[in-house]
């Protein structure tokens, strides 16, 4: 759906995006993470043809940036970081304007469809200036989807929303994901990225890494399994440590924290060994590092490298 090759954007002497080579697959939710000023919004602007690249190439839905800009605008929707609406106009009028600009065939029908989908139909005649931030955000999402784009760019879609509104927006993103659309999601909310994204790209002027959230965790920390026992001692730890597939093992009170490459295969072996050794297993669980740990580790490592 998106393919970029050494995509670079410079503003004077400052490089905002450096040699970005990236592939976003059709139908996936691609999370784009990075600190403020990392070049996320600049990348989105280049891919939506709002600004031109300094060098490199980008192809969006088969159309080349800089050559087929109008075609790209027709097949993409964008929710900008600060999605302004015409406050003096009604919600319905706001959407009607954009439906006309996007050359939607059934303007009235599409406007009604999205206002109903996001629960704004009853407020359609109200001035947008009287809407809450959450309602404005929902309306801006409607605007981004009115022309049924194959690819949607969402820049911080839940930023500044209360938990209820943020959840509603997230649920809606999951819903549009099931419709097979490709979603390019820029966010600072790592929990949101973890829940919604199929793959994640971490950016800081240049692309640091791209992978699934699970693989990113595994690459950085490996997989860890915690065995909660009624009673654990060092002898038990030594027996476990002797197993060839154990990468590392620690005892924390009555818990054994074990590093494994393939817990699905090795956990049954471990359970048998521990039971034979007389241990009472209370429960077993996987220790998950948060995406925040992964993100901070990746971004932090580039800081050191710089």
């Amino acid at each position: 759906m998106i393919h970029t090759e050494n995509l670079t954007k410079k503003f004077g002497d400052r490089t905002a995006v450096e040699a970005l080579t990236l592939d976003v697959r059709e139908g996936e939710v691609f999370g784009f993470l990075g600190p403020n000023g990392a070049g996320k919004t600049t990348t989105v602007r280049m891919l939506t043809t709002l600004i031109g690249p300094t060098s490199g190439t980008a192809v969006v839905n088969g159309f080349r940036v800089g050559q087929n800009d109008t075609d790209i605008r027709r097949c993409t929707g964008i929710l900008t970081e600060t999605p302004g609406m015409y406050d003096r106009l009604s919600a319905e009028k706001n959407l009607t304007i954009f439906a006309n600009l996007y050359e939607v065939a059934d303007v009235k029908g599409q406007v009604e469809k999205y206002l109903r989908l996001l629960g704004l139909w009853d407020r359609r005649a109200d001035l947008v200036g009287n809407f809450s931030k959450g309602m404005k955000q929902k309306l801006a999402i409607c605007r981004a989807l009115l022309h049924e784009p194959a690819l949607v760019f969402l820049d911080e879609p839940t930023s500044g929303l209360d938990p209820e509104a943020a959840r509603l927006v997230r649920d809606f993103i999951e819903e549009i994901k099931t419709q097979g659309r490709t979603i390019f999601l820029c966010t600072h909310n790592l929990d949101e990225a973890d829940r919604l994204c199929d793959r994640i790209g971490v950016m800081k002027q240049r692309l640091i890494t791209v992978d699934t959230p699970t693989n990113l965790r595994q690459k950085l920390y490996g997989r860890k399994v915690v065995f909660h026992l009624r009673q654990a001692d060092d002898a038990l730890l030594a027996r476990v440590r002797a197993l060839p597939f154990i990468k590392d093992a620690q005892r924390v009170d009555n818990k054994l924290v074990l590093g494994l490459d393939d817990p699905e295969t090795h956990n049954p072996v471990l359970v048998r060994l521990l039971v034979e050794a007389g241990a009472d297993i209370q429960f077993v669980g996987e220790l998950r590092h948060s995406l925040e740990d992964v993100y901070l580790s990746l971004v932090g490592s580039t800081d050191k490298a710089d």
């Binding site: 600004i51 109008t70 605008r73 999605p83 302004g84 406050d87 304007i97 600009l101 996007y102």
Partner: protein
């Protein structure tokens, strides 16, 4: 064309809810129509003030065989008829000043530019949205002035001179051309400043040449006539063509989006 009319529709729906713009569109035509009518009414009620030779030489030539009182009325009315040329400049400039800068302050410009609209369609839409009300209001006001003058002025000769074909050229052609120039300058300024009032103030400088003509007429240095109006129309067509082309070229989406905060 549909996208241009969508922009026009959007601008009108939005801009006429702005009190300052609404005040300008309603109050100014009333004032600018009332002033020359007042001159007509005062002139009609005056006793004959004497001979035409009491007036400046340029007026004597213009008045021909009119009485002194009628010539004085014509002189006063002509001063204020220039206001009908300012009207199609001031109203569109007020509307256009809010155009691009208004989109920026409300953060609507980015989603707007992300649609398949071209820069030319956007600018033409915004220009028409500012031009049409200004020109229509001016023509309507001049129509009202003509009808009331017809009812007030007793002398057919004076009426013929007040409603001189020169003013038809001035208000029907030069005014709209002037307005188009004003709008294009305003849109260019509006895309580079962060406050609608700044855009309006900078663009209002365009009224200065008209004010110059207004005062030059008062002191008798210059007499606006049909030749001057025709020349002005030709010059303005050239200026407008240049400004429209320049406006599209200087409207840099990237600069507006990235440099403006």
């Amino acid at each position: 064309m549909p996208k241009i009319w969508t922009i026009v529709d959007k601008e009108w729906a939005e801009v006429f809810k702005n009190r300052l713009v609404l005040f300008t569109v309603i109050f100014m035509p009333i004032l600018f129509t009332a002033l020359p009518l007042l001159m007509v009414a005062i002139g009609g009620s005056q006793a004959d003030i004497g001979d035409v030779t009491d007036l400046p030489a340029s007026y004597q030539e213009m008045c021909g065989d009119l009485t002194g009182s009628a010539c004085f009325t014509l002189m006063m009315v002509n001063q204020f008829l220039l206001l009908f040329m300012m009207m199609p400049l001031i109203i569109p400039v007020t509307i256009a000043a809010y155009s691009i800068v208004g989109e920026k302050t409300t953060h609507c410009l980015e989603p707007l530019l992300a649609t398949p609209i071209t820069t030319a369609e956007l600018l033409i839409g915004k220009s028409l949205a500012a031009l049409i009300p200004g020109v229509l209001v001016t023509w309507l006001s001049f129509g009202v002035f003509a009808v009331i003058s017809y009812m007030l002025v007793q002398s057919p000769e004076l009426l013929r001179r007040i409603l001189d074909p020169m003013w038809i050229i001035a208000i029907g052609l030069v005014g709209p051309l002037l307005a188009l120039a004003g709008i294009n300058v305003t849109l260019m300024v509006s895309s580079r400043v962060s406050d609608p009032r700044t855009a309006e103030q900078v663009s209002m400088m365009l009224v200065l040449p008209l004010l110059g003509i207004f005062f030059a007429q008062i002191v008798g240095v210059l007499m606006v006539n049909a030749q001057i109006m025709q020349l002005a129309a030709i010059v303005l067509v050239a200026i407008d063509a240049g400004l429209v082309s320049l406006g599209v070229r200087v409207f840099q989406r990237e600069t507006i989006l990235t440099k403006w905060k």
